[in-house]
Symmetry: C2
Subunit: 624 residues, 2 copies
């Protein structure tokens, strides 16, 4: 609202702004400032109009204004916002050099420049403005402001025109909340300052004086710690407390644990001190509770708590570091063997047979069991090596050959089920696609492009039922059951529903087909190794059978790739749409069609055929 | 061309075909046949019109036709082609049950059915037609035909209406080339038959009689072998030769090697026979020459040629099987140690430090060297384990700590170069995209949608030059040089040119950016392990530095993913194009734009952002 009254004070804003800009360009800050103040134009414009020029002429600005209260007015009105971009956009875009890079730092920049200038001219005169410039910064420099006030008090002979400490403090309290100022005064550890502020506050001296007296009696570091803790400045508190000697260490440790300051605490002591070890120990416990046993193990190990480190590495399953800890503990061979056996047992549960075998071979010296575990993990090469290393060729007949034959059988069965599942899902996919195509055609006939397509499928019948598909997944075989249970868990994690008629059933089918393709492709290395060892032991027929079955499965998959992952899933067949006879309608229709062909999904990788690993030469020529 | 002359013989073909079909439907084969023969309608139609009906009534057909020469005519005219689909399509599609599943087997099917029927009626009468049915099959059953002729000759009392062997042979020679028939007669191992054919041929008796006489004098199996070899039937030849006893074994072996018949040859002998071993040995040599040393090793091993097997496995680098062969050879510890050392040396060249370390530790008992190799391969856990297993904690100070620090430095340098390359390519990508957008706008303005865009870029300048980018790739560091040389080789394999202005430069940039992202993402495991061991040995500062640098690099990459792999690279932003105001032109223009946005490529994976492995918790909480 404009000031009412004399008509001659009514001005056209655009004209006024133009005039203000002109004044600013000529560095006539006084004219500009007074006009802006009178007409309530935001003072930020003085800077925003041309930041570079303003910063270069801060002293001129101050000298022209020549008023503490006006400068305070200017400083308190400062905001990060660029007013030439929001409230006062220039009429034509001028080539003002851009200094807006320092985004979010405008106010601090001006405050610092103004303070430097004012200090050059007269610290005494601009005392209150300098305080304002400290307070306006973010974060506010309240402690510096308080220090300045304390200095004022020390300059007892008051010169003409200077402000008393009393007055300055009063002004500061007008700008800042008294409790906040009290806390910051405490933070300077300067009790004179604290009392000065406290006296100005509404606080009860019976309350703060005993507290301050108690603090005053303390040893210097402990006093500072107490203040820091009161102010919740825990890092500083920790630092001061660490200097208070061993009698305060338990207090130190409590603070570390309560405030989770382990890393800071460790930096305050030498690695071979007892305190370092105690903090480390507490840190390790903390990390174990946070379910980070490996990192706990590292901390324990570093501080020499090897027993605890061993335990932590065991929880984590890092057997090499566990053995390292055991080495530091000078375990006897027997004790090492027991440790190895117990770790091996856990690895067997997790089907990590190779690690388990190394433990049993090298630490428990149980060669036979090690070899049997390698066979369980179908690590034929390594099993053979140990058999010959330890002269246990008897195991070739008792276990190696039977294992080979069993695994060959399992692989054949697995390939069979995967092939069946693949064909079943592939058939269903073409049914779903045909249904969608039909629905699309009907939609186009009806010219109702926004009709929700999903409803059209909900009761669509099909040739293959879901139970058909899932029943073929069940493996009778124990050795492969781990893989299948992993598949099952994977299936549960699937994002799209395979349920018949679900709106994204085709995406779900693509997903599961992709998984089958990958699971088959991943077998190449394993089957190659198995084929080699079947041949080595003369089972050429079995090898041939497996090679043939795998080859057929791969051929089936490869032949279907292009049919399942049709090229139009991935890109736009532009030519077919934009012919010479195309109309807006025909193009739009084709577009909608594509939209439904490749339903928008956040997982575009489903629409890309899985890449088969062609670099593995899994086939044995001698079986062809 | 129709027969000229009497006008009444001119028929309308469609009418005739309709009549023929009617006759065939009523099983009036004779009427149909004569009409077709006169009017030169292809006789295949008799079958093709309704295959099922024809096959069920073959005897009726033969009895109605009742003429050897007509039946021969019918048989010789048979072709795999379905004439109802090509030459004589039916007027309306009738529901003739489809029997065309047996694609490519039509002629054989008819020949067999006809022969069975003719044999039922009269083998004597239809002798020549039966011969025809053998010859028409594919492949022709010439030997069976010849056997039939020989049988004829044996039935010396010639019954009325029967054909003499002489006549039959003459007829056969009319159907088949005499030399082919001669070869096939040899293949029956029946010299009477051979001479019978030879006499009919133009062959010089002075030529073939000595050959036949020589054969006649041979032992039975050797004779058959000689004939098979002459006829180039090598598998059969091998089979017969294997029965000729040990004096012919060298001949056998030559045949096996010459004709690459190793697999067949091995099946002819028992695995523990000397012959089996000799063939295996030759097979192994052959496989080595074919650069399949591992399979050669398997063959050598199987036949007990362990020295050769060891050599083959060494070429292949399969150290476990090489040691297995050494085990069979009962190597002494010294010899095993030497073998292990030499294999380890090769693995070090290939940077396979873990394998090399196992060899040195377990066979050469050189624990120190094994540990140093593990350090070289940055396998910290395993190195620590061996240090404690063999009580060599001195290595911690001499090598372990220095290695940790060096690798930390290398990683920092590598991250720096990758970051620089990433930023450089990313900047260039946005330049290229902008240029393409400009070109596209110009193109649309000109309404010349077919103008080849690539020319517009060929001399486009840019902020970043290619040499800038490549110079930043060079690593000064030896430890990472293996990785970088791998990158270099990869770069050479790139499909798209990174050269500035090349038409698919943006795709090339996407490719190389994707590779950098993956190479950084792949470091997670390695860096996690390094961080752990830095902390374990108290290098918290170094660990912190690395963790921070890696975190920053990952953040940089992650933040840029969406900017580089914009969603419109992968799918069609349909809404923006098909608004209510769209016209054929605007849609078409938008379409063309998309075409250039995502240039058609056979590698859609470039357009999909690389997936970062979020499952690895590489960061150490205790460093935060």
């Amino acid at each position: 609202q404009m000031p009412r009254g004399n008509l001659e004070t009514v001005h056209h804003r655009a004209l006024v702004l133009a005039q203000v800009r002109k004044w600013l360009d000529c560095l006539q800050f006084k004219e500009a400032f007074e006009c802006m103040r009178k007409l309530r134009i935001n003072l930020n414009l003085i800077y925003d109009h041309n930041p570079k020029v303003f910063l270069e002429n801060v002293e001129t600005f101050i000298k022209q204004i020549d008023s503490v209260s006006f400068i305070n007015l200017f400083l308190t009105e400062l905001k990060e916002e660029d007013y030439t971009k929001t409230m006062y956009p220039p009429l034509e875009s001028t080539n003002v050099c851009e200094l807006h890079d320092s985004a979010g730092k405008k106010v601090n920049l001006i405050c610092d420049a103004m303070r430097t200038a004012m200090e050059n001219i007269s610290t005494t005169k601009y005392c209150l403005s300098i305080l304002t410039s400290h307070v306006k910064k973010s974060p506010p420099e309240l402690e510096t402001a308080l220090q300045r006030i304390r200095k004022l008090r020390e300059q007892t002979p008051i010169t003409a025109g200077s402000v008393s400490a009393e007055e300055a403090l009063k002004y500061l309290l007008y700008l800042v909340d008294v409790n906040e100022l009290y806390d910051h005064s405490l933070g300077t550890y300067d009790f004179d300052l604290v009392i000065m502020v406290a006296e100005k506050s509404q606080k009860d001296p019976k309350e703060y004086l005993p507290f301050l007296n108690k603090l005053k009696k303390m040893e210097n570091n402990y006093q500072r710690y107490s203040i820091d803790k009161y102010l919740k400045r825990y890092s500083k508190a920790l630092h001061h407390l660490s200097k208070c000697g061993p009698e305060h260490f338990s207090e130190f440790l409590n603070l570390v644990v309560d405030q989770n300051l382990f890393n800071e605490a460790l930096k305050l002591y030498l690695p071979d001190s007892q305190e370092y070890k105690t903090v480390s120990y507490a840190y390790g416990e903390h990390l174990i509770q946070k379910h980070l046993p490996e990192q706990a193990g590292l901390i324990f190990f570093r501080c020499g708590a090897f027993e605890r480190a061993l335990g932590a590495f065991l929880i984590n399953g890092n057997w090499q570091l566990a053995l390292t800890a055991a080495g530091e503990l000078c375990y006897t061979e027997d004790k090492l063997a027991n440790l190895a056996r117990s770790m091996a047992g856990k690895f067997v549960e997790k089907r990590k047979y190779t690690d388990a075998a190394i433990l049993l071979e090298q630490y428990a010296k149980d060669y036979e069991e090690a070899i049997l575990l390698l066979l369980e993990g179908t690590t034929w090469d390594e099993a053979l090596r140990l058999i010959y290393k330890y002269n246990r060729t008897d195991i070739l007949e008792t276990n190696f050959r039977p294992s080979l034959l069993e695994v060959q059988k399992n692989h054949l069965a697995f390939l069979e089920t995967q092939k069946a599942a693949f064909s079943c899902h592939q058939k269903r996919l073409s049914v779903v696609r045909e249904l969608k195509q039909q629905a699309r055609n009907e939609m186009l006939d009806l010219e109702l492009p926004n009709c929700p397509e999903s409803d059209l499928f909900s009761d669509a019948s099909s040739m293959v039922t879901a139970s058909d598909a899932s029943s073929k997944y069940t493996h009778s075989n124990s050795r492969i059951s781990a893989r299948s249970s992993k598949n099952r868990r994977k299936a549960e994690r699937k994002k799209h529903s395979l349920k018949e008629g679900s709106p994204l059933e085709d995406v779900a089918l693509l997903e599961v087909l992709g998984e089958i393709v990958r699971s088959i492709d991943n077998l190449k290395g394993e089957i190659h190794s198995l084929l080699k060892h079947l041949v080595l032991f003369g089972y050429d027929g079995r090898a041939q059978e497996l090679q043939q079955a795998f080859e057929e499965t791969l051929r089936l998959v490869e032949q279907s790739l292009l049919e399942i992952w049709t090229p139009d899933l991935q890109q736009i067949p532009a030519n077919s749409i934009l012919g010479p006879n195309s109309t807006a309608n025909s193009i739009s229709a084709a577009y909608n069609q594509q939209k439904t062909m490749a339903p928008a999904s956040q997982d575009p990788e489903f629409f890309i055929p899985p890449k088969l690993n062609k670099s593995i030469q899994w086939k044995l020529n001698l079986l062809q």
